[in-house]
Symmetry: D3
Subunit: 229 residues, 6 copies
């Protein structure tokens, strides 16, 4: 199934996507049972961006960025472009001109399991970008791949229309069908964390807040007074 472009995809509800973006990667990842997180080599080009959007996927080949150009046409405002590569490569498949094009079409950002270039210009534009590398090495337009097919990006399966959440902690994918449930679980988690934070700030111990002392003792943890030297 190489060489296919799917023009239309189903997307999650906009309000749900926004809520996921507000929650952020770490909370969303926990809220959906610790699945869907891309490998930690995926880093933001600049610090401070936090986005969420619907995944439009492109499958490229090493040294070739042709399918990114193809993908722009099927992007809708609010989407996030996910670029997978058929084998490991750090070449700079995405630069400032493509960022300009994506922004003109309303894309929220891009996630690249390959390299980017024009690092300075893209950071100046404040265009949100996560990638495995920065490299000026350009790419050709010689081999076709696919757009809007399921891909594996940085260790995670991404279906077109899944929700992409990305911030300084990395990138997490939420299946479209799970998005609403994850928002609810995430918001509950946030409330609990706010309560814990208030107690921790006052110096209460996690040991007491989370009631860990009994379990630790059962596992056999021993305290000694010390010092031992």
């Amino acid at each position: 199934v190489n060489g296919i472009v799917v023009r239309n995809i189903r997307r999650a509800d906009t309000a749900v996507v926004e809520s996921l973006g507000r929650l952020g990667v770490a909370t969303v990842h926990e809220a959906q049972g610790r699945i869907g997180l891309m490998q930690p080599y995926m880093r933001p080009l600049w610090r401070g961006a936090r986005i969420a959007g619907s995944a439009v996927t492109a499958l490229c080949h090493p040294g070739d960025n042709w399918m990114i150009h193809v993908a722009v046409e099927v992007l809708r405002p609010g989407d996030v472009l996910i670029v997978a590569c058929s084998s490991e490569s750090a070449d700079g498949a995405f630069g400032e001109l493509l960022a300009t094009s994506l922004r003109a079409h309303g894309a929220k950002g891009v996630v690249l399991d390959i390299g980017c270039r024009d690092a300075h210009e893209i950071a100046e534009m404040q265009f949100p970008l996560w990638s495995r590398a920065i490299s000026a090495k350009g790419t050709v337009k010689a081999t076709i791949g696919s757009v809007n097919v399921p891909v594996v990006c940085a260790g995670v399966q991404v279906h077109p229309g899944d929700v992409v959440v990305a911030d300084d902690d990395g990138v997490v994918i939420v299946r479209r069908a799970d998005a609403e449930t994850v928002v609810k679980a995430g918001e509950e988690r946030e409330k609990k964390e706010a309560a814990s934070r208030a107690r921790l700030e006052k110096g209460e111990l996690g040991l007491d807040i989370y009631g860990m002392r009994k379990a630790l003792e059962d596992k056999g943890l021993k305290y000694v007074d010390g010092p031992l030297d």
Copy 2:
């Protein structure tokens, strides 16, 4: 010796610790004979922090951050938490809630031979943190380790109560018994460097300031006028 928590440890003199912090990692490392430096994969979460404090150590297991919670209770103001892991892992064992707890207990910072998460929030808090990775991947609380036992962190043996010095150059450990000697050696080094700096700024050559020409000639270094092409 797994499953032990040592409540009390000996710490270095506060003034000595502060002096080591002022000297910084590169100078301290030189002053103690180029030992005790953690491997360079340990990077600060944000640039510009420079801390020193007494080491409280936690030995965790991959995918498990239980012992960090245990360690908070035995931390004293001015300490730095050192987290070692029994095998290589980049999971996000430390986040903003733990940073809040550590700060409430007066910790100067944390050094993690594992990943951290909530990168944006911890940077906003200006909480000093060095780690091998940033990853939203959470951890469980299922396996006990130890607190305040000797650990190997990023290639360096750390004993509880050793002095931890950390800045943009990385993390160095000074044995408690050596701390005072290292301060003296570091301060002498600083004076010499200040003198060299003044001469280098004026354009004098290291070759002359450090008297290297004879040794280079003895080793057989040859000068040719060139150009050779």
Copy 3:
């Protein structure tokens, strides 16, 4: 041919070097046919520097920075120091004192296929530096290497007098003889990119601007309407 220092080298025309610097790494790399780019592990110590200059080369050995001191003497204002190492090493062979010395001699910056230290101080000085690592691990002065001989740095052959261009995208080398031609090709490329940028900003597609639709069809790319789920 170890143990040689070549005092004088041929340099490219200053105006040409400046033009290459203005064009930047990605454009220069494209303009010369995608050759001469150092591997992407070479990263700037701080973001935002963009330099160009003539290469003065130093070949060091792991754990030894002696030849950097030797190289300072043959540097001329406008040069960029290229430091290669005879085997892979991340040790901190270059610190703030050497940066001070290079600046005093008019060097535009330094490119290290080894580590640097005094990261905070060098960033404060705004001295442009690219390296493979940051490490406080110091080096000795025990083994001679060479200065101004051809070296391989981060995967690229560098001859003394070649033009070094470096920015947030990495480091690219232009052979002295090619420099003028590359400037012309780069400036033409810039013009074309400016035209493309204006059209992309308005939302035109790369598919149309670059006339890709026919070639994609010839390769067998198929469009389906979708959604497929």
Copy 4:
């Protein structure tokens, strides 16, 4: 969807699986359009094994091999166990006792995106095993995962019942529905390669056998007589 064990899965036809195994990884990968290949860090424990079988999948957590024990019960003779891990880990989650158990249940082999141990014993048993690492570091049985759910293993999505083909070149996954088509394409490819091999052995050039000269000329390839030095 964590914590699920699916007892029964659909498997590909046995004859088809056997044919894929005979074709081997490189041919199968080509025959299905260069998709489905695991990343090259997956290496055989010993050289010379070539297997194919139906995928039974286990999703484990770092430092935890509990789900492998669970998976054994649902394995059928001819299956290959695929072990994915929720984050990167090299711990030795699989040793000689599990190999003994898998062999007793008729498994053809195991593919681990984590480490193995008892390397010597498993090699002596000639039990086919591919993994990302060898490590004696043991694992606990504390966290549940899933069995026979879709997983990502070494960069490839694997569904239960997909065909796994593995040999000295690595591991490739064929979707169950595609298996028969891939066999046909692979066998045709083999025939063509046999013909090419016979000609290449006689010294004919690929340039002529594959008719490349015209395309190279069109792309602008120039021949010069040389020597140039």
Copy 5:
């Protein structure tokens, strides 16, 4: 404490050392509570060696193997040489001549947190060797280190006289004082494993042998019949 050679060290009882060697790395590592295992990048030069001996330690500097020569003089028959390096290096610090010298002095083998060379000759000699790399890059004899001081090798603290156990699974260190206890625990473990092996060979499930079903159910593991597709 650089520049020290300790001539005499305490060693563990020979019979105890031999027993640890017979148990092998994986069993010893388990028997002592999963501590003391070197990182998995330490690999045997050739497959099939299994050794145990008393650690004689050498601390070298990158690109320098001088201290290995110094260490030979203090080696006794039955010892294993542990070579640590003050920063990460893959240079070939150990070759066939040193292997000859070690063998002449009765060393059981060598463990190098640096590279080796003469790979073919050392394998032909069947001299047991574990290292982080193979590299022909030679080293100098210019900087002093220490012999028989505590070192960190591949992530593990090694004291002179500790027991080194190494085989195809890697390298594990047993503290001298713990050696006898570890033998006992290891031998008990072996007996249990023999019993489990016999049952597993007959096709009994680990789920039943280790009584895991209840714990899995308590954790919430659910079985579904399937197939789900």
Copy 6:
């Protein structure tokens, strides 16, 4: 200078090449002053090959092996094919059919700064091959590179006609003009090593054979009797 094929190159004298092959990588590397060694990630596909030959170079692009086919035509018996890649890639650009073709044309072996495939078949053929990876991932024939131009392969500059020496220790390049001198230096080195080996086998110490005791003392090395614990 992309897109050039140089048909004829100068080669070193056959007897000299053979002598270099007999000396092997480690000796040749030492004999020419420790230069020219490829990075240690270049590993033989199978153990025990030792070859030397004249370099024919091919510069390919990631995911593309077209130039290897072009290079076969200009190969002469006794040559070694050196394949460089314009950016980092592990794709399997070389398989059994190309090995067959190279053998038919008399090539001694191949050195690939990219991946190979058909690992089992090539090992069975006993065709000597060094590469950075094994991967079944195939490549296209879409982008032209060059043949018999200078390239950088695994960190070393290779000129067409240089002598390639490769064995289990890796790959070293000798400039054609230096080949004869290197043979002489290598043979002298071999004689010295034979003498040392004989003394080391009898248990004499390197400290005495190489007269190191005085230099160690001058550097400040101190001996203490111990044991210290």
